[in-house]
């Protein structure tokens, strides 16, 4: 891709005060990612690994403790006042829960109108036109404009929430499990909406989800996160075909199949034990305490990102061998 990224996150770190006095929760630790215009990028990883904190830190819902967020090359920390607010509006967050992210007492039209006013659109007729346009874009006929959001189905509500985020002409959407609360059958409608927004409006989208098959299909690239760090990144098809970090291998192999014959013949969960506490993360590679391939060197230093093929890299000393297929974290598990 020879375009420049619309969003660039550099060495972002977000720490929370821990309940253990004087200690910190290292929720996001030295994460760098890029999003190009009109691209859907996946972010996957174990529950509690820091995906939401990363997303929230990017849009400013959480205060990063170090690192930079650049929008169109401009470091947000150098902005203030109206310029900062304008840039922040270009970064929108879509929440998992379409039930709590909308005000029940508002009609669909009011919810969108409010966002347009915040964006500084004063002319009521222009707002009305824009509302209709937005409802069209998300596939909700403008008839629903006067309905209260509480009268809508989950999928419709999620589309209203998306229309609201689009009202301010964002460059980037951070979507935090945007379809988890939706039905299988409505999920497809909302996913196709994301695909269309990307194509028609060029909105870039960071897509956080647990459903790996869904992420693979929607995202051109995927980041895999473990305990606050990105451990692997690559084009989705390549990464799903040749995962090269032991964690990524185990994560992808854990996705359940719909065929009961396959599922019932599984030997047991691949991943054993719990994710270590982000308050006291392991030294060196953070995955080493649960990695079937770990050696002494893994505890010494953080493994560097090893480049495997165009735009595909993994932070593991064995990444090249895992990528080639001469070793596998799964082979050891099965033995």
């Amino acid at each position: 891709m020879n375009l420049s990224p619309v969003l660039k996150v550099e060495n972002l770190q977000t720490r929370f005060k821990s309940v253990q006095r004087g200690k910190f929760v290292h929720a996001v630790d030295d994460v760098s990612i890029e999003l190009f215009p009109g691209e859907i990028v996946g972010l996957v990883g174990e529950s509690g690994c820091g995906k939401s904190t990363l997303g929230r830190s990017i849009v400013g819902l959480e205060k990063a403790t170090a690192g930079r967020v650049l929008l169109d090359g401009v470091d947000l920390s150098t902005l203030s006042g109206a310029a900062l607010r304008k840039s922040r509006r270009a970064l929108q967050y879509v929440f998992q829960d379409p039930y709590s992210s909308l005000n029940d007492r508002q009609t669909v039209g009011e919810a969108i109108d409010e966002a347009l006013i915040i964006d500084g659109l004063r002319d009521p007729t222009a707002r009305e036109r824009r509302t209709k346009e937005l409802l069209d874009q998300v596939g909700l006929v403008s008839v629903v404009k006067d309905r209260h959001t509480r009268e809508l189905s989950g999928g419709q509500r999620q589309r209203v929430a998306i229309a609201r985020s689009l009202a301010v002409n964002p460059r980037v959407l951070i979507c935090d499990e945007p379809v988890s609360a939706l039905d299988l059958s409505i999920r497809a409608q909302v996913m196709n909406l994301f695909l269309r927004l990307q194509k028609d409006l060029g909105v870039a989208c960071l897509f956080i989800a647990h459903d790996l098959a869904l992420v693979r299909q929607a995202a051109s690239r995927t980041y895999v996160m473990y305990l606050g760090k990105i451990v692997e990144h690559g084009p989705s098809q390549e990464l799903y075909d040749h995962p090269s970090h032991p964690y990524a291998q185990m994560l992808l192999a854990s996705a359940p199949e719909v065929d009961p014959r396959i599922e019932k013949s599984r030997r047991g969960p691949l991943m054993i034990g719990e994710i270590p506490s982000p308050t006291n993360p392991p030294s060196g590679c953070r995955f080493r305490t649960r990695c079937p391939l770990a050696v002494d060197a893994c505890a010494q230093a953080l493994p560097p990102a090893i480049s495997l093929s165009a735009d595909h890299d993994a932070s593991c000393l064995l990444a090249a061998e895992l990528h080639r297929g001469s070793r596998s974290a799964l082979a050891i598990q099965a033995a």
Partner: protein, 330 residues
């Protein structure tokens, strides 16, 4: 007695009345679960899965009047019509629960150990001291490492997976014969999900419990359940052994659901397959099949009469005359 199902639901109908609305989220549904067996319930959001399981046990929020008809038998004992005081005795004791909302399941300001012990005190009439010991046993049972230290922790100090293990420990505190788990792994990633499902299967086997598993993840069903009920708009569309229904789905809705699951061969960036249209509102019961407006096999007769659930082959039941008898007969 061995062959008697532990839970036997027949022709269950639930009407909910609130100040503003009347809905029938469950309309004549039948199924049963035996000891040591796991039944999965899947279906659209709002199709009645949660209400169907919790309303007969008196677990509905305040502000709604629940009207039940049909029969729900637990170990041969009829629950419908039983006084609230009697039902209350079953809750948490004969029947353990894992609720859909993971946030409300644990009290954020009380230690894990206390929360588990309380359930044991309540349901097994234990002294606080005996209950503490029981809590320790339970956290070991659900596979929590360093159990003594964990008992002193607060919920927010635990990972999502550990928290769900604690929720399961609480559900098991009363030594239930039936466990109802409503979306127990929806908030978890696939590695933790695999661990939690394995744990549920293990304790189910060890305690010889019956389990009802509500989920919308067909992969979860495939790995964990023996039988499945597919719900659509308050009714059962299809019912049968998981090994048959998932491999050879018959009802057009079941087929649509399974078809909508992304597959490995789908190219990156390809359109997602779904079902056309929207699920219906449940305000008024339908005359015909509620799936008709979204069904590609529908014939005019489908919107006239409610399709009965008919046994096709083996133990599979399908509520679709077109599938069961062909277009002409329908």
């Amino acid at each position: 007695m061995r062959n008697e199902p532990l839970l036997s639901v027949s022709n269950l109908t639930v009407n909910l009345l609130t100040a503003k609305s009347a809905v029938r989220p469950v309309d004549g549904v039948s199924y049963s679960v035996r000891q040591g067996e796991c039944l999965a319930i899947v279906g659209e959001s709002g199709s009645g899965k949660t209400v169907m399981n919790f309303a007969p046990l008196g677990l509905m929020p305040t502000g709604v009047t629940t009207m039940l008809s049909g029969s729900v038998k637990l170990e041969g004992r009829e629950l419908i019509g039983l006084p609230e005081a009697e039902i209350q005795k079953l809750r948490g004791k004969s029947v353990g629960f894992i609720f859909q909302d993971p946030m409300s399941a644990l009290n954020p300001v009380r230690r894990i150990g206390r929360q588990i012990a309380e359930m044991a005190e309540l349901h097994l009439n234990m002294t606080p001291k005996a209950a503490e010991a029981r809590a320790l046993e339970l956290v070991k049972l659900v596979g929590i490492s360093d159990p003594a230290a964990r008992l002193r922790q607060y919920p927010h100090e635990l990972s999502g997976g550990l928290r769900q293990r604690v929720v399961i420990a609480i559900a098991l505190a009363g030594e239930p014969k039936l466990l109802i788990a409503d979306e127990p792994t929806t908030a978890l990633d696939v590695t933790v999900q695999a661990q939690i499902l394995r744990l549920l299967k293990d304790v189910q086997k060890r305690l010889n419990m019956a389990m009802v598993l509500i989920t919308h993840d067909m992969g979860v069903v495939a790995g964990a359940a023996d039988n499945i009920v597919v719900m659509y708009a308050a009714r059962a569309a299809e019912r049968g052994p998981v090994d048959t229904v998932l491999v050879n789905p018959r009802h057009p809705y079941t087929r649509g659901l399974i078809n909508a699951i992304p597959r490995r061969e789908d190219p990156v960036g390809a359109e997602f397959r779904g079902l056309p249209g929207l699920p219906p509102a449940l305000a008024a019961p339908f005359k015909g099949c509620a799936f008709t407006p979204r069904c590609d096999m529908a014939v005019p007769a489908c919107s006239l009469a409610r399709p009965p659930l008919e046994q096709v082959d083996g133990n599979v039941f399908v509520a679709c005359p077109v599938v069961n008898h062909g277009k002409v007969a329908a």
